[in-house]
């Protein structure tokens, strides 16, 4: 049984990978752009999944971190800085800011991080908009170049898509490796039973902080990719609305599941395109979808998939799960 499911997993993954590589050849430039946007948003969602799905913290600042990464890249690459250094700058900056934000907030009450991140995102948006001398304010930063990779240009939409896809691949592998390490085990403990975890020496506060800071860094990396994608950066995308959208993305996909962000980003990026005919109503539809999904399937699309695929196995294990005391205490 186990071997069958592993085979199924590998098979599905390979199929998806092939699909993602072949698809752009059948799409027009706008379609390729949407696909690339999906890849870039997934990176941000993977980061937020670490914070929300593994450490159980609501962060409303992921858009701010994407914005920091985007602005760093926009401002510096237009002044000739090499692209590879953007990863390092944005990653470290966002990690540090995440740590600084999270440290005091988590010392107190766990739900305070939500409010602190809410305030931070709004403050940063104001700063992006008002500090024209730095960010260009509402006029933004334009003509952001696309980076050459090993001598090849990524200017054409398809080339840039493959570049972003490769980035997504690397981020996925790194995250998978993180989650399989002792840190990943600590994250699971933190999520499933923080009291027990504490009693085993797991410093829940530090691991939560790490998850948040790493999630922020991934947000920054997403921003590094976003800037050359749109080639024009202004404050508008990095408002609270995107942070909330990313949150919903993670939850709809399945919070705490490895592939949740991928699915969630598909829904969030593609739904507006499909519902384009409905214009303003697509957001209403999206909100309703999220609400219905979370009321009936709080574990999101991945949870739903798991239930469908693993249902026969689950019922067998379920009878053993409820371990009842054998004698009255």
């Amino acid at each position: 049984m186990r071997r069958w499911t592993t085979l199924l997993n590998i098979g599905t993954l390979t199929l998806c990978a092939v699909f993602l590589i072949v698809l752009p050849f059948f799409l027009r430039p706008y379609g390729v752009y949407i696909l690339t946007l999906w890849a870039v948003m997934t990176v941000a969602a993977i980061g937020l999944n670490l914070t929300l799905g593994y450490a159980g913290q609501v962060s409303m600042a992921q858009a701010a971190f994407v914005g920091i990464g985007a602005y760093i890249t926009a401002l510096l690459t237009t002044h000739g800085w090499p692209f590879w250094s953007m990863y390092i700058l944005a990653g470290i900056a966002c990690f540090a800011i995440g740590w600084l934000l999270g440290y005091p907030a988590l010392r107190v009450q766990h739900h305070y991080l939500a409010f602190v991140t809410l305030a931070f995102n709004t403050l940063l948006f104001l700063a992006f908009r008002n500090e024209e001398w730095l960010t260009g304010g509402n006029y933004g930063v334009s003509n952001i170049p696309r980076p050459p990779v090993l001598g090849w240009t990524t200017d054409p939409p398809r080339s840039f898509y493959f570049f972003c896809l490769a980035n997504l691949g690397i981020v996925s592998v790194a995250t998978w490796w993180l989650l399989r390490s002792p840190w990943g085990r600590a994250f699971v403990a933190l999520r499933e039973n923080p009291i027990r975890a504490l009693s085993l020496g797991v410093d829940t506060r530090r691991y939560t902080l790490m998850a948040f800071a790493l999630g922020a860094a991934l947000g920054g990396i997403s921003g590094v990719l976003y800037a050359p994608l749109v080639q024009f950066v202004d404050p508008v995308p990095f408002s609270l609305a995107l942070s909330l959208n990313l949150l919903m993305m993670v939850v709809v996909g399945g919070s705490g599941y490895f592939f949740g962000p991928f699915l969630g980003a598909i829904v969030s990026v593609l739904l507006p395109e499909w519902l384009r005919f409905a214009e303003g109503y697509y957001l209403i539809g999206y909100a309703l979808l999220v609400m219905v999904l979370i009321v009936f399937y709080p574990s999101g699309l991945m949870g739903l998939a798991e239930r469908i695929i693993y249902r026969p196995q689950k019922t067998a294990a379920a009878s053993a799960t409820t371990a009842v005391p054998e004698t009255a205490p």
Binding site: L126, N130, I195, A287
Partner: protein, 291 residues
Amino acid sequence: MSDILQLFVAGLATGAIYALAAIGFTLLWQTSQTINFAQGEFVMLPAFFVLAALLYGVPFWLAVLIALALSVLILGVLFKVLLVDPMIRHGVLPLVIATIALALLLKEGVKELYSAEAQAFPPFGAAVNVSFFGATVALQSLVVLGVAIAVVASLQLFLNGTRTGRCMQATAQNPNAARTLGVPVDRMILYTFLINAALVAIASILVTPIYLAKFSNGEWLGLYAFIAAIVGGFNQVRGAIVGGLLLGVVDNFAAAYLSAQYRLAIPLLILIVVILFRPQGLLGRIEERTV
């Protein structure tokens, strides 16, 4: 000096409105561990109920009553039964996300189904100024303050003076203990939702004349409600009042003397400072460490 007094009174007035929104928010958290991220949209919506009723030629006082009733029904009963009850057993997190989605739904719903433009909203005091301790103060501010004080006073009277009110307080402090004492906890929780719905409706009617009715009001209204609640002390109703008033006054002064672009930054900075240095809020108690 008279300028300062004018700003102060106006600030108290808006602050009282924030306090109403913050009280409901705090009550929901205390009794049922519900963090309602749609609270801002809850304050935005009832004004549109009034406007819609007015479109049908209904007199203002009736429109207000209709809005109150609709608010209690939709933002109180339906909210609890359709959203909170199914979600609460999955923990706080899914409910938070659900209220975030609800906020989006309400905001976009009003935008699409009513209008994306800001709408004028009738005030119920004449637009005159009154002399108040030597300063010129808008009558509207005094009326708002008066109504808010009356509402809060009656709420306190209800909570402290009636049996139901005391049962609600018990539920807020310790639902399990209250249950063992025979308090109908679930009904008390329902009452909290109804009270919140009433409070946000009143707040809506008081605040909308000042800022016009717009679908996006919820964003900053919600922010002010959260900040007021946390700054005051998240586990205290009195804290919500103090937080709201403080916020209103500070915000008004900031708007007058500081750059308009960074007006919102002041409350946000206050929030961050409070969380850093006095996380239990001004009136709050340090909660038992559970983890």
